[in-house]
C-alpha cells in the first residue's frame, strides 16, 4: 500500500518533470539541426554527380526543407504526435523504422554495460571500503583509477588484441556470426559472445566511477550512529555491511548512475562503431556523415527519450532504496 503510493508519487513527480524536458529537447535539437551547413539534398545531389539547380530544388521540395523554419518545426511536432519521425532521404526508409530496427541492439548493449558497471563497481567499492587503507584497497584503488583514466574504446581495442587476435576466444565484430543461421542455445551463446567485448569496453569507465563512489559512500556510512546501533545488537559484521551500510550507500550511487546514463549512451556511439555493433550509436555517426538530419534528429530525440525513461526507472529504484523519497 505505502509502497504503491510512493511509486505513484514518484511517477507523478517524474512525469511533471519530464514533460517540459521532452519539449525542450525537441526544440533544442531542431534548432541545432537548422544550423547545419549542408543538408541531405545537397549531399545526395553532389554524390549523384547531377548537382543542377533544378534537381537540388526538386529534392529540397520533396523533403520539405524549402519551407520556413517554423513551418518545418510545426510540421515535425505534428508528425511526432503521430509517432512519425519523418522519412530518411539517405536510407530511403522511414526514420522510425530505421531507428526501431537499431534500438533493441543499443538497449541490449546499454543495459548489459550498465548492469555490469553497477555490479562490478559496487562490489569493488564495497571491498575497497571494507579493507580501507590496507592492501586490497590500495591494489583495487590503483586498478580503478587506471580504468577511470583510460578511454573506453581503447580498453575495447586492447581487449580485441588480447581476446580476439592473440587468444581467439571472442569475436570482435558485429552482434552475431553472419550467415551461421544458428538457433536455440547456439544462437544465444553466439550473441552473448559477441556482446562481451563491447559491453566491457562501454562499462570500463563506469565501473571505475561507481567503485569510487561506492567506496566513498560506504566509508561515509560507517561513521553514522545507526551503524553503532546495529553493532550494539550483536549482528554479524557481514549482515551489518550488507543490510545497513550498503543499502544506504546505494542511494548516492544510483543518483549518479542516473546522471551518467546520457554519457553511457554517448559512449555507445564510439563502442558501436568500433565493434560494428548495429545500434543507434553507429546510426548517429552514419547520419552525421551523410548529413541526414531527419535521422539525426530522430536519433537525438530517441536517445534523449531513452535517457528519460531510464531515469524514471532509476527514480523508482531510488524510491525503493530510500523510503524518504516520495513520501509526503
Amino acid at each position: 500500500m505505502r509502497m504503491g503510493r510512493r511509486i505513484a508519487a514518484t511517477l507523478k513527480r517524474t512525469a511533471v518533470h519530464a514533460g517540459p524536458t521532452v519539449l525542450g529537447i525537441i526544440v533544442l535539437d531542431f534548432l541545432f539541426l537548422q544550423l547545419m551547413p549542408g543538408n541531405a539534398a545537397d549531399v545526395m545531389a553532389t554524390e549523384a554527380g547531377s548537382a543542377t539547380e533544378e534537381t537540388v530544388a526538386a529534392l529540397r521540395h520533396q523533403f520539405g526543407i524549402d519551407q520556413p523554419v517554423l513551418t518545418q518545426l510545426l510540421n515535425f511536432l505534428g508528425h511526432l504526435a503521430h509517432l512519425d519521425l519523418g522519412f530518411s532521404p539517405r536510407f530511403n526508409t522511414s526514420v522510425a523504422d530505421l531507428i526501431m530496427a537499431r534500438l533493441p541492439n543499443t538497449l541490449l548493449l546499454m543495459v548489459t554495460a550498465l548492469a555490469l558497471a553497477l555490479v562490478l563497481g559496487i562490489v569493488f567499492g564495497a571491498v575497497m571500503a571494507a579493507w580501507a587503507g590496507r592492501w586490497p584497497d590500495r591494489v583495487l584503488s590503483v586498478i580503478v583509477l587506471l580504468f577511470y583514466s583510460m578511454p573506453g574504446f581503447w580498453v575495447g581495442l586492447m581487449a580485441v588484441v588480447l581476446f580476439s587476435v592473440k587468444l581467439g576466444w571472442l569475436p570482435s565484430d558485429g552482434n552475431e556470426t553472419i550467415g551461421a543461421d544458428l538457433t536455440g542455445f547456439a544462437m544465444v551463446s553466439d550473441r552473448l559472445a559477441h556482446l562481451v567485448l563491447p559491453a566491457l569496453a562501454l562499462a570500463s569507465f563506469f565501473v571505475a566511477v561507481y567503485a569510487r563512489l561506492t567506496r566513498a559512500a560506504m566509508l561515509e556510512v560507517q561513521r553514522q550512529d545507526f551503524m553503532r546501533t546495529a553493532k550494539a545488537k550483536g549482528l554479524h559484521p557481514l549482515l551489518i555491511q550488507l543490510r545497513h551500510a550498503l543499502r544506504n550507500a546505494l542511494v548516492p550511487v544510483t543518483t549518479v548512475a542516473g546522471m551518467h546514463l546520457g554519457n553511457l549512451l554517448g559512449g555507445a556511439v564510439v563502442v558501436e562503431t568500433l565493434f560494428g555493433w548495429p545500434g543507434m550509436g553507429r546510426l548517429t555517426l552514419e547520419a552525421v556523415l551523410g548529413r541526414d538530419y531527419a535521422v539525426l534528429l530522430g536519433v537525438l530525440l530517441l536517445s534523449s527519450f531513452v535517457v528519460i525513461v531510464a531515469n524514471v526507472l532509476i527514480d523508482l529504484l531510488h524510491a525503493w532504496l530510500d523510503p524518504r523519497i516520495g513520501s509526503a
Partner: protein, 331 residues
C-alpha cells in the same frame, strides 16, 4: 557479586588518554548515573563496556566483568552474543541512531531473530508487542513505518523497544534524552524507569544533567577528565557533594522546574574548562579548584572509600570529611 564491575579501566586515543583508571560497579536492577562534562570520558567508558570503541581507540588496561566474566577477554563472536542480548545500548541522537532506509519493524525484529530462534512472523509479532510496551499508539500499523515518519520522542521509544527486546540484564543509555524537549524527556525517562522495574534491568545512565540524575538514578559516579572523582548514593550526594568538582556542578545547577533550558549553560560557572587539565601532573581539577593545595599538583589523588558506598578522590575533602561545613564554603 555485582552485575557489572569495571575495574581500573583505561582507554586511550592516539596522543590522549580518554579514560584513566576508572572503577565502578553496578548491582542488578540498579540505575547508576555516570555524570560529567562533554569530553570527560563517560561515553567512551560506556562504549568500552559494549566493546564498540572507535577504531583508533584502545583499551590500555583494566577489566570489565559482567556477572564475573571479563568482557575484554571474549572473542569478537562471543562478544556479539552479549551485545543486544545481555547488554544493550540507547544512543543520544534518535534522529541518526535508527537506520533511515529500514522499517522500524525490521530493525526491532532483527535483534530478536539474532538472539532467539524465532520465525519471521513470530519476531514481527514480538516487535508489535514491544512497540506497545513502549507506548507507541497503533503499534500494529506503526510497525511498517520508517524512522522519518516518527517524531524524535517516538524514535527514542523505538530505540528503547529495540534495546529491551531480548530482556538484557544491563541497559546503557548514553544521554538518551539530551536531544529531546523537556516534556518528552520526562516521558522517555519515566518509560525507561518503568521498564527497568518490570524487566529487572540495571541501567547505566550517562548524562550531564543533574536534574535527570536526581530524579531517576540510584547512585552517581562523577567523572572529570577521564577519572571518576566521586561515587555516592543519590540522597547523600545531593545532600552534601564532597568533591570540589561535584560541589561546583551542584552550584552551577539551576532549578529544574524553573528553566527548561538550563542544560545549555550547565557548567559554565566553574572557572576554566576540562581542556586546562591536559598533560599536567597531580589532580586534573586542581587548576579550577577553589580549595586546591600545593600537594594536589604533585600526585593523582586516589579514590578513597568513606563507607556507605561513598568514595571521593580528593585529599583535601577526605582529610576534613568530618567537617560538614565544607559544602558551604565551595563558592
Amino acid at each position: 557479586m555485582p552485575l557489572l564491575s569495571v575495574d581500573g579501566l583505561s582507554v586511550a586515543f592516539p596522543g590522549h588518554a580518554a579514560v584513566r583508571e576508572a572503577s565502578f560497579s553496578l548491582a542488578a536492577g540498579e540505575t547508576l548515573a555516570l555524570v560529567g562534562e562533554s569530553g570527560c570520558g563517560k561515553s567512551v567508558t560506556a562504549f568500552s563496556v559494549m566493546r564498540l570503541l572507535p577504531p583508533n581507540a584502545r583499551v590500555v588496561s583494566g577489566r570489565i566483568l559482567l556477572e564475573g566474566a571479563d568482557l575484554l577477554a571474549l572473542s569478537e563472536s562471543e562478544m556479539r552474543e552479549v551485545r543486544g542480548a545481555q547488554v544493550s545500548l540507547i544512543q543520544q541522537e534518535p534522529m541518526t541512531s535508527l537506520n533511515p532506509v529500514l522499517s522500524i519493524g525490521l530493525q526491532i525484529a532483527e535483534v530478536i531473530r539474532r538472539h532467539e530462534k524465532l520465525s519471521r512472523k513470530a519476531a514481527r509479532a514480538r516487535a508489535v508487542e514491544l512497540l506497545d510496551l513502549v507506548s507507541i499508539p497503533d503499534a500494529h500499523r506503526r510497525i511498517d513505518d520508517y524512522p522519518h515518519n516518527l517524531s524524535g520522542g517516538m524514535r527514542q521509544r523505538v530505540m528503547i523497544a529495540m534495546a529491551v527486546a531480548c530482556r538484557p540484564k544491563l541497559l546503557i543509555a548514553d544521554e538518551p534524552t539530551t536531544a529531546l524537549d523537556v516534556t518528552t524527556q520526562a516521558q522517555v525517562l519515566d518509560l525507561l524507569d518503568d521498564l527497568r522495574h518490570r524487566l529487572g534491568m540495571a541501567v547505566l545512565l550517562i548524562t550531564h544533567d543533574l536534574g535527570v540524575v536526581a530524579q531517576w538514578a540510584d547512585r552517581i559516579a562523577v567523572m572529570y577528565a577521564g577519572r571518576i572523582v566521586e561515587q555516592a548514593g543519590i540522597e547523600p550526594f545531593f545532600a552534601a557533594p564532597l568533591h570540589p568538582y561535584s560541589r561546583g556542578l551542584l552550584g552551577a545547577r539551576v532549578d529544574v522546574d524553573a528553566d527548561e533550558h538550563y542544560s545549555t549553560h550547565r557548567l559554565t560557572e566553574i572557572p576554566g574548562n576540562v581542556g586546562s587539565a591536559a598533560g599536567q601532573a597531580g589532580c586534573s581539577f586542581a587548576p579550577r579548584c577553589p580549595v586546591a593545595q600545593p600537594a594536589c599538583r604533585q600526585a593523582v589523588p586516589p579514590l578513597v572509600g568513606l563507607g556507605d558506598e561513598r568514595a571521593v578522590a580528593c585529599p583535601v575533602t577526605v582529610s576534613s570529611h568530618s567537617s560538614p561545613l565544607l559544602g558551604g564554603e565551595a563558592r
